[in-house]
């Protein structure tokens, strides 16, 4: 007997009355809660936290149809993953809340010198200003030769850090661009 949850609620509301008349409701009481991931879209991913690299499955709402904006409904371990075999730790198990989180940043923010708060700015402003700063700093602090006259070709006034939480490809791009800019102050989490 297939019962939807709505039917079930209706039935149970009138249940006591009907059963008083001898109508037995037990089939209706059978568990009919819907499985919240029964029709979600599954995407294979890797937990972004530690280096065990547990396979996770991200369940998003919708079937990737054009008019749907997916959101994460649930995240669970990937049972096929040879390392974690579907298991997760308390951080991995809460990944949904890492993605869907009201503390996420959604707009570029800018803080001017001496200011006490952030200003929302558009991307173009932020990127243009950053590029200008990089060029100014590089031009100003670029060292072609050291005191002994040896070629060094490096930018002394700027540092680049990061990457360990991002993809390998992004790390590579970071190295590529930073080194092209002549950055020597380059480091990441593995130093710490």
């Amino acid at each position: 007997m297939e019962l939807t949850r709505r039917h079930f609620l209706k039935l149970s509301a009138t249940g006591a009355f009907l059963s008083g008349l001898g109508f037995d409701l037990r089939p209706a009481m059978a568990e009919v809660k819907g499985l919240k991931i029964s029709r979600t879209t599954e995407t294979q991913s890797t937990c972004p936290y530690c280096s065990v690299s547990c396979g996770v499955i991200i369940h998003t709402m919708g079937d990737r149809a054009a008019n749907v904006t997916p959101t994460v409904v649930h995240v669970e371990g990937n049972p096929d993953h040879p390392i974690n075999q579907g298991t997760l730790c308390p951080k991995g198990a809460s990944l949904k809340q890492y993605v869907v989180n009201d503390r996420r940043l959604t707009k570029p923010l800018y803080r001017s010198p001496g200011s006490t708060h952030w200003h929302e700015v558009d991307w173009d402003f932020a990127l243009t200003e950053i590029a200008r700063h990089i060029k100014d700093t590089r031009d100003k602090t670029f060292q072609s030769r050291d005191e002994e006259g040896r070629i060094v070709n490096r930018t002394m006034g700027m540092a680049g850090i990061g990457g360990c939480t991002d993809t390998g490809e992004m790390n590579f791009l970071l190295v590529k661009t930073m080194r092209a800019l002549g950055v020597v102050y380059l480091d990441q989490q593995s130093r710490l």
């Binding site: 149970s12 249940g15 037995d24 037990r26 809660k33 997760l88 308390p90 809340q97």
Partner: protein, 284 residues
């Protein structure tokens, strides 16, 4: 794997079904629990239980002092001397899904608590009237009332997942395999094997916790020091409180006798003696 009802709270009719399904069971092998709380989070995530407040620091690694209406699965941490050496025990605590569920016996709301043939004891909040009799009936002190909805909540053993052929969320998450899921028979076999292993490793008191006082549970434990369940936060020899048994058993009969007997006696009296009319009496 549809769920078939076995028992329904506040309903005296025998069940309609004749199906007999395998009983499912959760095995908690305390000897390999690392207290990581993955089960706690998985439970919250799957069941979308709200985190309404941040509980203050409890003075231990334990998330909160006891279960809550929105926290159905709690690892209890204890620093104890066990078998002559220092130990830090971590044991998950949740609904035990008793074969003889005290909550169901105590519940007065028809269909608010059901027991499926697979052994899961589930609360159906739509039918719950919030009287908390189940809290009284539970020998493990598990059900908790939500102050907001005035309904009682507890671990469902992810009955929705189990019905769809999946394992409960906590079981799936558990990194070390401290939690296992299968039929009661399989789990008892696994537990037995672990107990043998532990005994061989020197835990002479290793034992399975499957309390007979409630006719066994559908969440069973392997305890390295089986002689001391209290050190893992588990009650020794739990059973449905005798008061609940008395109340749902003999006292109910007494009540019925008084009610029916009273009415019957009155009727008989009326038939035999009739009303005491003032006129007759005065006349007499």
């Amino acid at each position: 794997m549809a769920l078939e009802l076995k028992a329904i709270s506040a309903t005296n009719y025998p069940t309609l079904g004749i199906k007999e399904t395998e009983r499912v069971c959760k095995l908690i092998d305390v000897s390999v629990c690392i207290g990581c709380k993955a089960c706690e989070v998985a439970c919250q995530e799957w069941n979308d239980t709200p985190v309404e407040e941040t509980y203050p620091y409890t003075g231990s690694y334990q998330t909160m002092p006891e279960l809550a209406y929105n926290f159905w699965n709690l690892i209890k941490f204890r620093e104890v001397e066990l078998g002559g050496s220092f130990g830090w025990t971590m044991a998950k605590y949740q609904c035990m899904h008793c074969a003889d569920p005290g909550c169901l016996r105590a519940c007065p709301a028809p269909g608010a608590i059901v027991q499926y043939t697979n052994g899961i004891v589930d609360f159906v909040q739509e039918n719950c009237i919030g009287c908390q009799f189940c809290v009284t009936g539970c020998p493990f002190d598990v059900p908790r009332l939500s102050p907001k909805s005035q309904k009682v909540y507890k671990c469902t053993l992810c009955s929705d997942r189990v019905a769809a052929g999946l394992e409960p969320a906590c079981i799936k998450a558990c990194p070390t395999g401290c939690l296992q899921f299968g039929t009661k028979k399989q789990m008892l076999e696994k537990a037995m094997k672990r107990v043998r292993q532990l005994k061989a490793q020197g835990f002479s008191q290793a034992a399975i916790y499957d309390p007979p006082g409630v006719l066994g549970t559908h969440a069973i434990y392997v305890l390295p020091h089986g002689d001391r369940p209290e050190d893992y936060g588990l009650p020794r020899d739990p059973s449905v409180p005798w008061i609940v048994s008395l109340w749902k058993g003999p006292l109910k009969t007494v009540g019925n006798v008084v009610l029916l007997g009273g009415i019957l006696t009155a009727a008989l009296h009326y038939l035999k003696f009739g009303p005491m009319r003032a006129e007759e009496k005065t006349r007499g």
